[in-house]
Amino acid sequence: MAWRLSWRRRALLWLANLAAIAFLLAPLAPVVLASLQSEKAIQRDVRALLPREITLANFQLILSGGATRGPIFEQVTYLPKSVDRFPAAFANSLIVACAVTLLTLVLGSLSAYTVARLNLRWVKAMLSLSVASRLVPLIVLMVPLYVLFRTYGLLNSLTGVVIAEVGFLVPYAVLILAPYLASLPAELEDAARIDGCTRFGAFRRIVLPLATPGLAACATIMFILSWHELLIPLIVVSRPEAMTVPVVLAGLVSDYFVFFTLMMAICLLGLAPTLLLVVVLQKYVVRGLVSGALKG
């Protein structure tokens, strides 16, 4: 578009963009500002916005699981359990998110392929069901799943968390992938089938390689959603060994003795992985979210 902009409109657009950027970023400032201070420093002046002195002691403490105390935490008698648990929870979250991503991709791409290629009534019905099931409140599933998992000994295990999350996310994966697979030309598969490929063979050798960008989009979104999930692990897990990051963070809620600065440092470490993913792989995430909402 080659219209000329008057300088007033240009200035207005600049201001509007700056306001939008402030809206998107400003709420994160407290996390960064508070996590780099000691609790004493933040309490000394309850009106200051910027820290007077900067320290990495909070991060050192958390990353060492409470072992490296340093001068700031030397005399502190109470440390929240979340600090000791954080490193293990981070590993648990990684395991769960990777497993969930892999499983939803496998199940979701198979289903999405049938939705995209087979014009059968029950396949269409299943698609509508996937769409509708996106709106089943998670809490509705968690009550019966809790009773079931209790009966079958899946409570307090990462396996249980993965099973529940996959069940909840597969319909969404289908919604993201189906429009993408439908947009691929069918001629290539037809040619492969004529040359003696089975339908599954054509899917594996031709469709999947062509669909790599769509799969990447779906995988990124699934990883992020799994990393964010609170309610499922909160209800399934009560033992520290199997806690994920959101559950450990939830342990800080209503802890009146916790240091703010320490809490914000844990938060920063907890949000860093998905924030990085979102910024670096933005192109894929955007495409997946849009097609998952509008076309699927």
């Binding site: 963009n17 496998v106 996106r134 089943v136 809490i139 599933l141 809790y146 924030l275």
Partner: protein, 285 residues
């Protein structure tokens, strides 16, 4: 090829929903969970639920929460989508690159983060307002029932608006430039171009976003959990929080929780059907 995910969905989605319905008709509490026997209770759980003032309070809070947060999401997202759609300012590319930042923040972290922003003593909102001279005293944002609801809504809207921006941005990109150029030639003002061209052509996208956002706001849990825990008093009890408290906090009345979960599911089924019809129509070959 549908069998694996079909089976998985049947086990983890379809069956639990039905099983929740079954549980809601039985007496299931901590003692029954130990013995594994759930005596039939008829409609007792539902009777108890509908007689519980807190349940109705939670539902009414949910309606307020949904109405305000969805309205804010739509308006803010539309404004930002229009701003970034103008590519003649290079800064709009920066804005576009940062669009998903709030969406990338885990909901619990979002809750903890805003609880620190709104904290009465050390909170950053008070610090900023004091620095600007807008308030003279520290405000206890989370201690006042009205303000607390506003705080929870603010936190939720911040995290969820980017999703709407994406949808609207995609919708705006689909509107041909010629329409605007023709309107410009005919002398239409910017305002009337927005009302006569942009908004009508965005209507399908807005409809989808309205249904999705309404449904998701109806299920809000994480921010309530992390910021107020339903408080102060029960000023921010919402439907999902009621269900969670009933089923997973002492006295672990899973039967009652299932009943309230089913009521939620029925309310959302209406939204779900509308969404499926709207989106399903588009995918028809």
């Amino acid at each position: 090829m549908n069998a694996p995910s079909g089976l998985w969905l049947a086990l983890i989605l379809a069956w639990p929903v039905l099983y929740a319905g079954w549980l809601s008709l039985h007496e299931v509490s901590i003692r029954q969970l130990r013995t594994g026997e759930f005596p039939f209770a008829g409609a007792a759980n539902y009777v108890r639920l509908f007689r519980d003032d807190v349940f109705w309070l939670a539902l009414s809070h949910t309606v307020v929460f949904v109405a305000i947060s969805v309205a804010l999401e739509v308006v803010i997202a539309l404004a930002i989508a229009l701003v970034i759609n103008d590519e003649r300012v290079w800064l709009s590319r920066v804005t576009r690159g940062l669009l998903l930042v709030p969406w990338g923040v885990p909901p619990v972290v979002n809750g903890l983060l805003w609880s620190v922003i709104f904290n009465a003593q050390y909170g950053y909102l008070n610090r900023a307002l004091l620095a600007l001279g807008l308030i003279a005293e520290h405000v206890n944002w989370l201690g006042d029932s009205r303000l607390a609801m506003g705080a929870v809504i603010t936190a939720y809207v911040w995290r969820t608006t980017p999703f709407n921006i994406l949808l609207y941005h995609a919708g705006l990109q689909g509107i041909p430039r010629d329409y605007y150029e023709a309107a410009e030639v005919d002398g239409a003002s910017g305002w009337s171009r927005f009302w006569r061209i942009t908004l009508p052509l965005l209507r399908p996208v807005i409809a989808v976003s309205l249904i999705l956002r309404t449904a998701f706001a109806f299920m809000v849990f994480d921010e309530i959990f992390a910021i107020t825990q339903g408080g102060p008093g029960n000023a921010t009890w919402v439907a999902a929080w009621y269900t969670y408290r009933a089923a997973f906090q002492p006295p672990f009345n899973v039967g009652l929780g299932s009943a309230s979960a089913w009521v939620m599911a029925l309310i959302l089924a209406v939204a779900g059907l509308a969404y499926a019809r709207l989106v399903g129509r588009r995918l028809e070959p």
